[in-house]
């Protein structure tokens, strides 16, 4: 894929194609003199600048949407952990956890990954659909809300009970990745096919 097309795809995640095309053209005009590193650095910086602008100009709406998404995550997560996961474990390991087969171990990894990936992906799609033109900002807001919520829960839990949950956990990159993927998919669906230059 030509670098200008790739750059345009990155920029259209946070702006309309009509905005992105002249910006890529401007950067292309300077790229022969300044080099590829300058070109890509400024594509990313422009995308981040527009993403930040989406956050600052739509903060109340994005916060409200992220909190609604967080409520969904909590409800689905509770159902999954309270009913779905015990049922799946009982089905996969009817005789307990000892000496499971390789197949069952792989199945268990998939079951655990489903929670880390499918829930944020599904809720990410739901949030992105409600934030037309600001899909990425909405899904990043959801991720921030989810981890702010988790941090609050962990701090309260650790304060109230003599059992210390880790403040940071490995689920964050999974949640972030799944939510960003959902935003990209929804953004691509909302955009018309980019014309070839």
């Amino acid at each position: 894929m030509h670098k200008s097309v790739m750059a345009e795809r990155i920029l259209t995640l946070v702006m309309t194609p009509e905005r992105a095309s002249p910006i890529v053209g401007d950067l292309m005009e300077d790229a022969p003199v300044r080099g590829d590193l300058w070109f890509w650095a400024n594509v990313v910086r422009a995308a981040l600048a527009f993403l930040w602008r989406q956050f600052t100009t739509n903060a109340p709406n994005l916060t409200a949407l992220a909190l609604r998404g967080l409520a969904f995550v909590v409800v689905i997560d509770s159902i999954y952990n309270g009913i779905g996961l015990p049922w799946l474990v009982k089905t996969l390991f009817p005789n307990g956890y000892y000496y499971p087969s390789a197949f069952k171990l792989v199945a268990m990894v998939f079951v655990l990954m489903a929670e880390k990936l499918l829930i944020p992906f599904g809720v990410g799609l739901w949030v992105a659909r409600r934030a037309s033109g600001r899909e990425l900002a909405a899904c990043l807001s959801l991720t921030l809300a989810a981890y702010a919520g988790r941090l609050g829960f962990v701090l309260v839990w650790n304060y109230c009970f003599n059992f210390h949950l880790p403040v940071l956990e490995l689920g964050f990159p999974y949640f972030l990745g799944a939510a960003v993927l959902a935003a990209i998919i929804m953004r691509r669906r909302a955009l018309p096919e980019l014309p070839s230059p």
């Binding site: 002249p22 890529v24 053209g25 401007d26 005009e29 400024n42 422009a46 600048a49 230059p197």
Partner: protein, 111 residues
Amino acid sequence: MPTPLFLGEFEQVVLLAILRLGDTAYGVTIRNEIAAQTDREPTPGALYTTLDRMEAKGLITSKLGEATPERGGRSKRYVKVTAKGLEAISRAQRSFQKLLKGLQLPGSAHA
């Protein structure tokens, strides 16, 4: 009476650069003009978000121009200062002139 629109420092710099360039003002020329006149080169990200914000405020308008091969076949977005933008920059500059009146700054002709 509508509240007057106050401009940030960078918005003023960009508006003045657009006014200086006239009909040839677009991303690359604006950045070059700012670099030439102020010895500071704005990042494209900062410039484009400022242009976007000023267009949303009605200070500038834009239209697509010609596409050239060195731009990968992509059009230029030419920008123009509106009457509202002209009024805002005039008011901001008048305020500066008033504040400068009577001051003797190093390297400045104001007195």
